[in-house]
Subunit: 289 residues, 2 copies
C-alpha cells in the first residue's frame, strides 16, 4: 500500500521527544504547519526546551491523567522499544483517538494490543546514531519506507474500525514523505532482524575487534562499516532483546557465513572465497543499481 | 615518521592503471605538475585511453624489456596484491631506480624483496569500492595514512641505500597529501586484518544474509555497513588469501564476539548485551571525537 496524500491530522501527541520524536515534530512543522503538536515525557525541563526550539506547541510531563488529551489527537509512542507498550497504553487512556508507534520491533508490541483497534503499530525505517531532539531532522523520513503492521482481524466486529484507523495512520506516515508498506508483525520482525538488527551487531563486532591504538590505521571502509555501532546501548539492547528469536536466527546465519570465509581461507580455496564474496557483492550492488 | 615536503620525483612509472594507479596519477598531476608519468600495463587500448584523459604522458604495454625505463624513475606497482611481486620485479628489471607498491598486504611481498634494497613496500590506506581509472580521484589519498614497510637491515652493506630509498618513497607518498607511518610488514598485516580486512568480511556477511526482496526494508544503516561489500572479488579474495593467517585470527575473534551476542540474547542477559554493545560503541565514538 502506498499512500501519497496530505495528512488530515490537526493534533498529534508525541510521547518520547528524542531524536525520532523530535524529527517527527520537525517534519510535521515543515509539511503540515497547521497541526498542533503536544509533547509528552518525563522531564519538564527537556520538554520546555523543545517548546522553546519551536518543535512543540505545548507539553505534558509526568503521569498522563485520563482523558487529558483531545479525542481527535493522533498519539505516537517514540520510546525505545521496551518502553513503547506502557507509553502507548498511557496515550490511549489519556484519550487519543488512535495511537501508533515508531518501534523497530513489532510483534511483542502488537500482541499486547491485539484486541485494541485504536492501536496501529508502525516502523518508520529511518534513524541516526545520534540522540536527543537537538539532532532532530525534518527530512529524516523523506523518501524512506514506513512499515505499518495492523493486526489481522477477519471476523471481529471492529474490523471496519481497524481498517479506518490503519488508513489514518498510513496517511500520517505518508504525510512525512514516507512510502508506506503493510506487513504482519512477525514477518516484519523476521526481515528487520536481517536487514537492520544483524548489520548493527556486525558493525559492533567489527568495532569491538579493534583497539584504540589501531585507529590511525583505519580507512573510510572501517568508518562506514562501523558508523551504526556508535548508537545508544539502551536503544540497541532493547531492540535486540525484544526481537531475540529472529536475531538469534540471523546471528546463526552470520556465524555460518563467517565460518565459511574462515574455512575457505584455511584451505586456501579461492573458488569458495570468490563465491562467498560475490554473494554479498551482487546483493549490495542491487542497492545502487 | 611524518614527512611533509614536496616530492622531488621527476618521473614515475605506474604499473597497473586502475582506480588506485589512476588516482595516484591524478594526484601527481594536481600536486607535482612537472612530473612525467609513464603507465605500464597489459592493454594498450586502456592505456591509450588513460593518456587521452590526461592521466598519463606515455605508456608501455605488454612485457617490459630490460632497461626500458629511466633509472631516475620511481616505479609503483598498483596491481591487486597477488600480482604485485611480478609487476615490481618487472619494474626493477626495466631499470626503475626505486620501486614501491600500493598493496594492502605487506609481508608476503616484502619477504620476496628482503635482499633487494631498491624495493620499499607501501600501503596507502585509501580506496573505494569502484574500479577502473575512470573513477580516479586526485584527492583519494589526501589526509590519509600511508604505511611504509622497509625491511629492517641492521648490518647488511646496503643499509644506507635502504634508508635513502625509504626516505625517497616516504617523501613521494607524503607529496600526495598522506601522513606516512613506518612499520614492520608482519605488524602491518596483523593490524590491517582487524582494521580493514575483517570489516570487509563482516560487510560481505551482512550483505550475504539479505535477499533481494528484502532490500526495500533496508535503511541507511544497512547501506553504510555494506558499502564496501560491493568491491571487486578479484581484489578482495587476493587480499584475504594473501593475509590468510592474520585474517583467520581476526575472523575467529569476530566469531567469538558474535557467539557472545547470541548467547546473551539466548539467556536474555541484558547486562552482557550492554557490555558487548558498549565495547564497540566506545571504540567507534573515539573515531569521531
Amino acid at each position: 500500500m502506498v499512500v501519497q496524500v496530505a495528512s488530515p491530522e490537526t493534533c498529534v501527541a508525541i510521547s518520547g521527544v528524542g531524536l525520532i520524536g523530535g524529527s517527527i515534530a520537525a517534519a510535521i512543522r515543515v509539511r503540515s504547519p497547521g497541526c498542533h503538536i503536544i509533547g509528552v515525557g518525563r522531564s519538564a525541563a527537556r520538554l520546555e526546551e523543545a517548546v522553546r526550539r519551536g518543535l512543540l506547541d505545548e507539553y505534558r510531563s509526568g503521569e498522563l491523567s485520563e482523558n487529558s488529551l483531545p479525542a481527535h489527537a493522533l498519539g505516537i509512542a517514540c520510546q525505545p522499544v521496551n518502553q513503547i507498550v506502557p507509553a502507548a497504553e498511557a496515550l490511549l487512556r489519556a484519550g487519543c483517538g488512535v495511537v501508533t508507534d515508531a518501534g523497530s520491533v513489532k510483534d511483542p508490541i502488537c500482541r499486547v494490543f491485539a484486541n485494541q483497534p485504536r492501536f496501529v503499530g508502525a516502523h518508520p525505517i529511518a534513524g541516526s546514531e545520534q540522540n536527543g531532539f537537538e539532532a532532530a531532522d525534518s527530512e529524516l523520513f523523506a523518501g524512506r519506507v514506513c512499515v505499518i503492521t495492523p493486526v489481522d482481524t477477519v471476523t471481529e466486529p471492529s474490523k471496519s474500525e481497524r481498517e479506518a484507523n490503519s488508513l489514518r495512520v498510513a496517511k500520517f506516515w505518508a504525510s512525512l514523505g514516507m512510502r508506506v508498506v503493510e506487513m504482519l508483525p512477525p514477518e516484519h520482525d523476521r526481515i528487520l532482524a536481517l536487514t537492520s538488527h544483524l548489520p548493527h551487531v556486525l558493525a559492533s563486532v567489527a568495532a569491538g575487534c579493534v583497539t584504540p591504538e589501531m585507529l590511525p590505521l583505519t580507512g573510510t571502509g572501517f568508518r562506514d562499516t562501523t558508523r551504526i555501532a556508535a548508537g545508544s546501548a539502551a536503544v540497541w539492547t532493547s531492540i535486540l532483546s525484544d526481537n531475540a528469536e529472529h536475531c538469534i536466527d540471523a546471528i546463526q546465519q552470520a556465524e555460518m557465513r563467517l565460518a565459511e570465509f574462515r574455512k575457505a581461507l584455511q584451505s586456501q580455496n579461492l573458488e569458495a572465497l570468490t563465491a562467498l564474496w560475490d554473494a554479498g557483492a551482487s546483493l549490495r550492488r542491487m542497492l545502487d543499481a
